[in-house]
Amino acid sequence: MLRLQAVGAVINMMTTALRSRKSLYFYIVVIAIAFAYSVNSVSTVAVAASSITFGLPLAMAAMVGIMCERTGVVNIGIEGTLLTSAFFGFFVAALSQNLIWGLLAAIASGAVTGLLLALLTVSWKMDQIIAGTIVNILATGLTSFFYKQGYSLPAIFPRWSIPGLSDIPFLGRVFFQSGPITYFGLILIFVLYVAMYHTAWGLRTRAIGEYPSSAETSGISVKKFKYINVVIAGAFGGLTGAYLTLELVGSFDRGFSAGKGFTALAIMIFGRWNPIGALLAAIFFGFAQALANQLMIDGLVAIPGPFINMLPYVLTIVVLAFSAGKVRGPAAAGQPYEREQA
């Protein structure tokens, strides 16, 4: 029954999306991919698959921002969460020689950074930007200080080919030959979307992000909700950190997260604080990077490597410049909530 409803909600969402005016873009993309595939199938598949690979961590990190801002907490500490969880994920997995322990350690340490942010912003009502900066500085400092060279993972999470689905031309290679965290992360993004717009939790969360005293006067504990959501978001960030080290790269270095936490904030805004919107925005970011990489590999354009690496940051600036002032986020994000003034 529940499952049916969830599936129904997703199908409903997709069919309305396909009927909307924006679906024009969707059809253009499908046609473009089909054309590219007919010309050069190998490169097209590679670019599409890399779009997901590069885009997924950004999408997952953007979910952290969405969950927090929807409850009225601005989280610029995502970068710190990614760095911390990648650090713990890597070293716990390397020391125990067990990827599962690494994964759990990453999720737990991400949740701890969320707890720290909640403590600073919700209980102590600290300025949220400063609180996020504290999380970032702490993460950079601690992970650099305790970093040791010479450790390595036993392996990285293997790719799971989904029987049947992975044989579909193009789509099979792009979507159904990925690692476990990729599948899990994608599912969680859809779950978050459904939860945000179709459950009581989502309704309450959004109400708190817009106008907390509306929730408080309806008998909802704003403080409890903020704590729970920010900590869950931190755990989600931890999963993202685990993806980066345990599934994608397989190693850890100082400053490993390389600004992905900040790019994620741009993606959150680009996706208008909507999980599906952010997922699409993240895939677009991933696509830009993947395309540039592929063009370089194919030797079609002679762009120096550093310029390719600049791409996500340049895109972030462009997106923010064009969307600033036009999109409206949760109204109460960034404001500490004082109960006595309710």
């Binding site: 309704l203 959004r206 309806s218 008998g219």
Partner: protein, 502 residues
Amino acid sequence: MATLLQVKNVTKSFGSVIANNDISFEVAEGEIVALLGENGAGKSTLVKSVFGLVRPDQGEIFIDGNQMAPGDTAAVIASGVGMVHQHFKLVPVMSVTENIILGDEPKNGLFVNVKKAEQKVRELSEKFGLEVDPTANIEDLPVGTQQRVEILKALSKDVRLLIFDEPTAVLTPQETDELILVIKNLAHLGVGVIVITHKLREVMALADRVVVLRDGKVVGTTTPKETNEAGLAQMMVGRSVVLEVEKGVANPGKPVLTVKGLEVFDDRNLRAVKGVDLEVRSGEIFGIAGVEGNGQRELVEAICGMRLRAKGEVLVSGAATKDMHPHAVHEAGVSHIPEDREKHGLVSSYSISDNLILNQFDQAPFARGWFRNMGEIRKNADLLVKKFDIRTTSPAALASSLSGGNKQKVVIARELSQDLQVLIAAQPTRGVDVGSIEFIHKQLISARDNGAGVLLVSAELDEIISLSDRIAVMSAGKIVAIIDSKGADRDYIGRLMAGLDK
């Protein structure tokens, strides 16, 4: 009738200020109790304690004989108490239904059952005769309808005691009459009602019993039968108050403010003022009556140079004024008491003395060249604080520390302490207590008697009728009639405001 609510010896202080001092009162089923008091008398704090939004320092609260844990809003709601807040607790970007079900969502497994919720809202809306569209977004609804949603939200939880916090502050006279009927109907169904207000006329029309608060204490309990408006005002303020405005005959002279063919657009870029002509003469009070949102705000802002004049002109003593230059308009002799004093009247993080020279800070004697003359600024503040009876510990205190009435006195002191030909007063007594209202009215009349032309805009029809010498009625961006205030008929003006009579 059974007792529903018992409040026993409740005390609450914020820092050194005692908001509630040993307060006790009761409400029975089907009874309407008015909590009457000036701003800052402690009414809001008291009902917030009842509702669990504020934790009292001492005292006990019983609902149906059960003692409530302090600060437990959820438990209070569960025992059947609802509250209609002065500042609506509605999320603007959400639908009527979503706002009503928030905190008590009908579910279908894990999911919110939207259909059932909308059905529930429709049933409630029919049962209590409060019409709303369950799917509309709050931000698209007029204020009166938003309040209806707020009431429905409270009623959706099987309320037995309903608290209204200043419910008529934002309503038109007609909406107020409707609300009074709704409240009486609820009481008839057995709901206990607490109404917080400082409007005497509503108390007389509505209440079974009146509990009067002053300085955080209960100073008396009475019924409308035993007293009258003057008696209530005296209890509330602690001295006798003149409710009728005493004013002499107007002595109008030459036109000082002339508006010709003015057209103005509002924030949504819709035409809000559609060709207004008016003339205010020196020595008269020219009132503009109208339901809020019919272009009054845009008209005032355009006159004062705060909003672009799309068409038409504004002349002060015959000289055209510059568009979009509030400072130049002010220099031309126009003083302005703005509708939103927090936004346009004051800088709340500045001291009272700085707020008192906010539009003359760069002029002698308050400035010497590039430097501020602190001595003169302080002298000016001491003088005005005394003259306008601004209740504060010190002129150096921040404006944010003042009560609403005293903030308004700061604005009025500043605007009236300089040479002026025209005074524009927009909602000058909004959110201001009875004692201060009397004072503000006297100041407006003395400005008139000193030869200024006063343009008064107010949503309080009684205020317009009692103060004005001539009344213009504004409806849908136009002035539909200009009448003499002598013998003006309240109902006739009400119909004009609603756009019914031409």
